[in-house]
């Protein structure tokens, strides 16, 4: 088979060329050693060897804190119009691609979320091969979620083989063609292999609340929120409204939330449907490995390993999941 390849030495040119199609963001290692998705401006190259970024690319689609509605007495509630800026996310690992397809299922569809949909339609996804480390679990329990991208870079000696996987991808590929060389040889299998495979999980009884693990998690959890903030599929949000100083207008914001926080299931009068942290861990477990509502049966965990890396006390639901879910289907 013939593959179109980009040499590592040509990467900067490729990025420069891509910039003609929109802002290009990718994993960048900061001075502090933290890898974050950030702008790949001329001179800033992506760190394609990094296993994971601190926050997942969901930050581009669902901002940590954003205004979802504005209110004025004259025009009532309005969705804030956002100029859709073309954004190319470069160097996404298959787990992050799967994470985006999970978010798509929640926020697109018949009744798409206006802000999400606007941003999503302006987004181009360029995936890249990765090599999982001991925190990754995509290889342990494959996900039914598709690792869908527009373009994909598969690692080959001193470069990447570039394939387009959508019409948008084909357009970009055509635009960067001169930078690519044809090479013979089969593409190596990559971690996309673990995604879009299992169709659905079988019905299982609810995890037993008496398992000692819940209490252990609860005792060690600092409630810092890191696990869900960096998770590519955690998308709980809180909604708040603030009146403005003019005494009449207001804005409504949504903010990333975490199911381990006290208020997550609290209702008026202080009553809570998940008073203790152990219950909340079961809730988290449910979401990550069983799925809710329309996504029932679709585990949300894409195996990126972020929560395990981020948790200051090293909490990890994975071993329990392997025990209860039987290592995937």
């Amino acid at each position: 088979m013939v593959a179109l390849c980009i040499a590592n030495s040509n990467m900067a040119f490729l990025l420069e060329r891509l910039q003609q199609y929109g802002d290009v963001h990718g994993p960048v290692r900061g001075d502090d050693g933290v890898v974050r998705f950030a702008a790949l401006t001329p001179g800033v190259l992506p760190d394609l060897s990094a296993v994971r970024t601190l926050l997942s690319p969901k930050k581009y689609l669902l901002h940590p804190l954003e205004t979802i509605l504005t209110y004025t007495e004259l025009s009532g509630y309005q969705v804030p119009l956002e100029e859709p800026r073309h954004l190319i996310l470069f160097g996404l690992h298959p787990c992050d691609l799967a994470g985006i397809s999970y978010l798509d299922r929640i926020f697109l569809g018949d009744d798409p979320d206006p802000l999400y949909a606007t941003r999503r339609s302006a987004l181009t996804l360029i995936g890249v091969t990765c090599s999982p480390d001991e925190f990754c679990s995509c290889q342990i329990s494959p996900s039914p979620l598709e690792a869908a991208s527009d373009m994909f870079l598969s690692s080959v000696d001193d470069g990447f083989a570039v394939t387009s996987t959508s019409s948008r991808g084909a357009e970009l590929l055509a635009g960067v063609k001169e930078l690519l060389v044809e090479r013979d040889g089969d593409l190596p299998e990559d971690t996309r292999f673990f995604f879009g495979r299992a169709t659905s999980i079988q019905e299982r009884p609810d995890p037993d609340p008496a398992l000692p693990e819940w209490q252990e998690y609860a005792e060690h959890c600092l409630g810092c929120g890191a696990c869900s903030l960096c998770c590519p599929t955690c998308s709980c949000f809180d909604v708040l409204e603030f009146g403005a100083l003019d005494g009449g207008s207001a804005e409504r914001v949504r903010r990333w939330d975490n199911c381990l926080f006290k208020s997550h299931a609290q209702v008026a009068g202080g009553m809570s449907f998940r008073k203790n942290r152990a219950e909340r861990f079961r809730y988290r477990y449910h979401h990550k490995y069983r799925g809710f509502g329309p996504l029932q049966g679709i585990p949300a965990c894409v195996g990126c390993g972020r929560c395990r890396v981020a948790c200051p006390t090293g909490l990890d639901l994975r071993p329990l999941a392997e025990q209860l879910e039987g290592g995937g289907s």
């Binding site: 933290v34 060690h220 100083l245």
Partner: protein, 247 residues
């Protein structure tokens, strides 16, 4: 439209919370359009309480008898009483040695000379009167103070946060000082809302906003112990803004 009448008072404190208001240089005109700063001794004369107030915004903790009187008076006259800042909400830095011998402390400062000052261990406002809302921080964030005031113009009090500083720190994608730099960052135990001001500049959170609900002190201490920190020292550090920490 009637302007809302405010009483802005300082008890035992550094005036930082009141100054935070005066530091809203850009917003002062808009604030003056909505509010009458009727009682505000720091910035306006004369200091006379008169009639009723839509809100009393009170800085500082209680540490002298006459402050209790003033607070009762403010409570009586005001629809809402708001604790502004960590001293008012939690006791703050002045409560650092609560529970120790006050006379001994007095002597450390004034020696044996008989200076007649009647003070007691600093207390937060809520220990004496009903507090309708609190904006914490030492000093409070301008943004939160302005949100409070904007809310008041529409009759709303702020909704409480329940997440720690870490949450906003991670949202900003900062390097974690606690786990990656072995610094004594109090982010996990401290109420969020400051957008992780300090860790964002690589300075440890010193806990200036008071405790977050459900703070897991035990686990935090265990984490510190793992890196060889002395529990006494960590607890000492925790007490900087709130004397009430318990295991």
């Amino acid at each position: 439209m009637r302007k809302l009448r405010l009483a802005i008072a300082g008890l035992t404190a550094c005036s930082g919370c009141q100054l935070s208001l005066l530091n809203c240089e850009d917003e002062l005109p808009a604030l003056m359009a909505q509010f009458e700063f009727h009682f505000f001794p720091l910035a306006c004369s004369p200091a006379v309480l008169e009639g009723e107030y839509d809100a009393a915004i009170v800085e500082g903790c209680l540490s002298m008898p006459h402050e209790k009187e003033l607070l009762h008076e403010l409570r009586k006259r005001s629809r809402y009483l708001i604790a502004l800042g960590t001293c008012a909400a939690w006791g703050g830095v002045t409560a650092l040695r609560n529970g120790e011998d006050r006379e001994l402390m007095r002597q450390q400062v004034y020696g044996q000379s008989p200076v007649a000052v009647e003070t007691f261990d600093p207390l937060p406002l809520g220990s004496l009167v009903l507090v309708d809302a609190a904006v914490t921080g030492c000093p409070p964030e301008k943004e939160e103070l302005l949100k409070l005031l904007a809310g008041l113009t529409q009759g709303a009090l702020p909704v409480e946060n329940d997440y720690p500083v870490c949450t906003e720190c991670r949202m900003r994608e900062n390097l974690c000082l606690l786990t990656e730099r072995d610094m004594l960052c109090l982010g996990p135990l401290t109420l969020g809302g400051c957008h992780a001001r300090c860790p964002t500049l690589s300075a440890s959170c010193e806990g200036c906003r008071g405790p977050v609900p459900e703070a897991n002190v035990k686990e935090y201490l265990a984490l510190c112990a793992k890196t060889g920190r002395d529990e006494e020292a960590v607890l000492g550090r925790l007490h900087r803004f709130w004397p009430g920490w318990v295991l």
